[in-house]
Amino acid sequence: MTDLIGVEIEEEGDVVVARLTGELDIAVAVATGRKIGAAVPSSARGVVVDMSALEFMDSSGVSMLFALARQVGTHRQELRVVAQPGGPVARVLDIVEFERAAPIHADVESAVAAVATPRTSQPPPG
């Protein structure tokens, strides 16, 4: 069956933005995580995963995000996630308390701006 996931990678300055569309489940989660991870150069300050247009995500998607958070953390890079407030994705992230691993933004602009601005404190490890 056709992949239901769409991944678009863009770079805004030294921030990598990965825009996901479609549905993220166990069938595509690992591959999607690898694709995003590989797109982040060591020179990048961080990565923003834009899930605002993602229609569905389950726990495997959450696992992918946690894994991604660990990966960028080891390179002292930042991960920020964008989810539409009140949407199904935000609901899932809320239930699994993803905020503990990385900040969740309502829009891409604020997420990118937050990464571009150096911060003093590191987010707690996932």
Partner: protein
């Protein structure tokens, strides 16, 4: 009046004369035996008798050759002998008796004048004898001498009167014959034995220009036979006279000469006639000029007919050749060309069998087609023909073969065979030679075309989904029917694209380009559409982007019509965009209706057209049908008629999607195949039951289908968007667990079932693996999600597997939980 030939035949006259002499001589000798006078002198009497005997013998022997004057002369000689004998024998009654016989003979055989002349001579010679013997009794003896013949003459003239009566009848008969001959259209000529003309009828006068009086007595040589033929004429005449047969008849084609020197071809039918001891020749002569002219005309006509037959035969050869060439050019499919060709060859050559062998790249021959049916053998002969590169006969001319050449290469060999008695000839070789070049070229073209056609069709097929996705609550069926082989493979395409959120995109399109170019454009549009659809654009934007792609990237001004329909089964609505394509059809409650909105322009026509999507309900239980124009367009028929036909056929078709499509193909596509490609795609929004149970393979790919199914079922059960999303997510976690328990790739399956009781929904996921305790964060999160999102979650071992039951009462949580 002339003496009639043959009335007194000369032989009869001569032989009678011979008897007369012999009798006279015998009587003379008898008077010696009984002498009654002293002065009888024996020696002269004996000598006279012997002379008479001799003359008698000579006359008898030469009876055939004697002529009338000779008979007269012999008769005079006879008279002299009698008179001499009378002189030597003295007065005797015997001699007057001899005189009388002589007179009788003369009167019998000669005309009266000649007879009297003979009598006069006889009387003179008798009177001389009397005067010498006894001058005293001269008066008595004169009286006796004259009186006796006169009495005899009277008697004879009486007899002759009777004979004349008979002869007149003969003459009348003769005159009738003569009249007939004179009025006869053909010249009639008789010749006596010496070749003198004795008869010359009126037709002969007209034909030759000589009158009867001029001709009679002359010979044909003198009058009518051209000089160079005279010798031959004479030979023939003699041969005819000498022939044994009494009635020999011969026919000659000879040239004759007229009096004026003009010549003409004639035909002479001549007969030898023997009658009453005489021999003569009769002949009919006709002018053959007319006959020969007619014959020449007949021959000319015959030549013309022969020439026409020859021309017709040539026309037949050319026609036969044309039939073969036509067969080669009539089709674009190699298979059809070959099959048609072998049939034509059999007909044109009147052959029993025909076969075509095709050469591959290495020149090896394989049988392409044969008629009738499958004929074995012949490869050896075909190989010889290919090697010689010449039209060839074999097996006592009952086998004929010709190489098919294209650009100097042997592309194949055509072979025809007949019964052992059948002989093919030069005409057949000529015919095949003429046809071979063009047929060879046509076959070569067809093979190139065939290869391209095959590639295009393969490409086209590869672009169509080989398997339609299993869509929960939806039943989908599709058909693609390439045009009957003559036409090129079209740019028809369809696709079924699952879209995030449980929706399904249906595509039906028709790219104007054909063959490879068309197929490759289909490929690009198809992958672009799949990408755009996944990016979550609405239908209008997807089609606009496809238009942009076609507008900017198509090499020539390429065009495509397409229909893009998104079905959201959860909401039971369709959103659709039509870019110049025939309208889709919705079948609901046995009624068929077209989704008739004004179609927008086809793709590739304008740079920036706007495509607006249209929303239509698609109630559970109704069916959507998409198709390409190949289904509704028929030559000479208005498109509206095609659409009406389609609607009518759809109304009577079974509800089942496969049954529907089969019915449409069976009733709308001609048996010989469609002129254009036909693509059909149908989707049935299945009725939604309160309970469901479905099995899925233990594969991650099953998850999307389960979500689609659940969204649709939950929407129908009255769940709001958030409830749909949350319950779907929870069930997805349970299903993920089931898949992980079974392990992937081993063909095992698990079951998802659901039931609804008022606002209470319960969904169960049953697998055949064993429930594993939560070992890591992932599974912990899964179970946490289930527990949070549902009112209750129960995990029970069941037989060899596990059942996870999830319950929730709808409308209880109020907004986001």
């Amino acid at each position: 009046m002339r003496e009639l030939p043959g009335l007194f035949d000369v032989r009869v006259k001569a032989r009678s004369l011979a008897y007369l002499f012999a009798t006279g001589a015998t009587l003379g000798l008898l008077t010696l035996a009984f002498p009654h006078a002293d002065e009888v002198r024996d020696a002269p009497l004996v000598a006279l008798a012997l002379t008479a005997y001799a003359i008698s013998g000579l006359v008898y022997a030469s009876a055939d050759r004697l002529r009338d004057w000779q008979i007269h002369a012999i008769l005079v000689a006879g008279s002299l002998i009698i008179s001499l004998a009378n002189y030597y024998a003295g007065p005797s009654t015997l001699y007057p008796l001899l005189y009388m016989w002589t007179a009788l003979y003369a009167f019998y055989f000669f005309p009266l004048r000649e007879a009297f002349a003979q009598m006069a001579f006889l009387a003179v010679s008798y009177a001389v004898v009397l005067a010498v013997q006894d001058p005293d009794s001269v008066v008595v003896r004169w009286l006796l001498a004259v009186g006796t013949p006169l009495v005899a003459g009277l008697l004879i003239s009486r007899l002759l009167a009777i004979l004349h009566e008979h002869s007149r009848e003969l003459q009348q008969s003769e005159e009738r014959t003569r009249l007939v001959l004179d009025t006869a259209p053909d010249a009639f000529i008789t010749l006596d034995r010496d070749g003198h003309i004795t008869n010359w009828n009126a037709a002969a006068e007209r034909l030759f220009g000589w009158s009867e009086d001029e001709a009679v007595g002359k010979t044909m040589r003198e009058l009518i036979v051209p000089p160079e033929f005279r010798e031959r004429h004479e030979e023939r005449r003699r041969a005819l006279i000498a022939s044994e047969s009494p009635l020999a008849t011969e026919r000659f084609d000879v040239e004759f000469q007229r009096r004026d020197g003009g010549r003409f071809p004639g035909e002479a039918t001549v007969s030898k006639v023997e009658a009453r001891g005489d021999v003569f020749v009769s002949g009919f002569i006709t002018d053959s000029t007319e006959r020969l002219r007619r014959q020449a005309e007949r021959e000319a006509l015959l030549r013309e007919q022969t020439a026409r037959a020859e021309a017709e035969r040539m026309a037949e050869i050319v026609g036969g050749m044309q039939a073969l060439v036509d067969a080669a050019l009539a089709h674009r499919s190699l298979d059809l060309i070959l099959r048609d060709l072998v049939d034509q060859v059999r007909g044109v050559l009147d052959a029993d069998t025909a076969a075509i062998y095709l050469a591959d790249e290495n020149g090896r021959l394989t049988r392409g087609a044969s008629a009738p049916g499958d004929q074995a053998g012949g490869e050896g002969f075909a190989a010889r023909v290919a090697e010689s590169r010449e039209a060839t006969l074999a097996r006592d001319d009952s086998l004929i073969g010709v190489p098919l050449l294209a650009e100097g290469e042997v592309t194949g060999v055509l072979v025809a065979g007949g019964e052992p008695t059948r002989e093919f000839g030069d005409e057949d070789l000529t015919l095949l030679r003429l046809a071979a070049a063009r047929v060879g070229l046509a076959i070569a073209h067809a093979r190139v075309y065939e290869r391209e056609h095959r590639i295009a069709e393969t490409l086209q097929r590869s672009l169509l989904p080989d398997r339609l996705p299993d869509l929960p609550g939806l039943e989908v069926a599709a058909r693609y029917l390439p045009a009957a082989s003559e036409a090129e493979v079209g740019g028809d395409w369809y696709d079924v694209i699952p879209i995030a959120g449980g929706a399904v995109g249906l595509v039906m399109g028709d790219v104007a380009g054909k063959g490879l170019a068309g197929a490759s454009m289909v490929g690009r549009l198809r992958s672009a559409l799949r990408a755009y659809a996944l990016e979550g654009h609405d239908a209008g934007r997807v089609v606009e982007r496809l238009n942009r792609l076609l507008w900017t990237e198509a090499e020539e001004s390429q065009m495509a019509t397409m229909l893009y329909v998104i079905i959201d089964p959860a909401a039971s609505v369709v959103r659709w965009v039509n870019a110049g394509h025939p309208p889709p059809l919705v079948i609901a409650g046995g009624e068929a209706r077209f989704l008739e909105r004004e179609a927008s322009v086809p793709l590739g026509v304008l740079p920036f057209p706007t495509y607006e999507e249209v929303l239509e309900p698609l109630e559970p239980g109704s069916t959507l049908l998409l198709y390409t124009d190949g289904l509704i367009e028929r030559p000479g028929e208005h498109i509206d008629d095609g659409l009406a036909q389609l609607a009518a056929r759809v109304s009577e078709a079974p509800e089942d999607p496969h049954g529907l499509l089969d019915h449409l193909l069976a009733t709308l596509v001609p048996a010989a195949g469609a002129a254009d490609d036909v693509a059909l795609l149908t989707l049935r929004n299945l009725p939604i039951p309160d309970r469901f149970s479905a099995e899925f393979p233990s594969e991650p790919e099953s998850l999307a289908a389960i979500r689609s199914m659940l969204r649709r079922w939950l929407s129908h059960a009255g769940a709001d968007d958030i409830e749909v999303a949350e319950i779907t997510t929870a069930c997805g976690e349970a299903a993920t667990n089931a898949i992980e328990h079974a392990g992937t790739g081993n063909g095992s399956r698990f079951e998802v079932s659901g039931r609804r009781d008022g606002a209470d929904v319960e969904i169960a996921v049953r697998d055949r693996g064993s429930w594993r305790p939560e070992r890591d964060d992932d599974h912990g999160r899964g179970l946490a999600l289930m527990r949070t999102l549902m009112d209750s979650v129960a995990v029970e071992p069941s037989g060899e597997g596990t059942i996870v039951s999830l319950r929730r009462t709808l409308g209880q949580r109020g907004g986001a939980a």
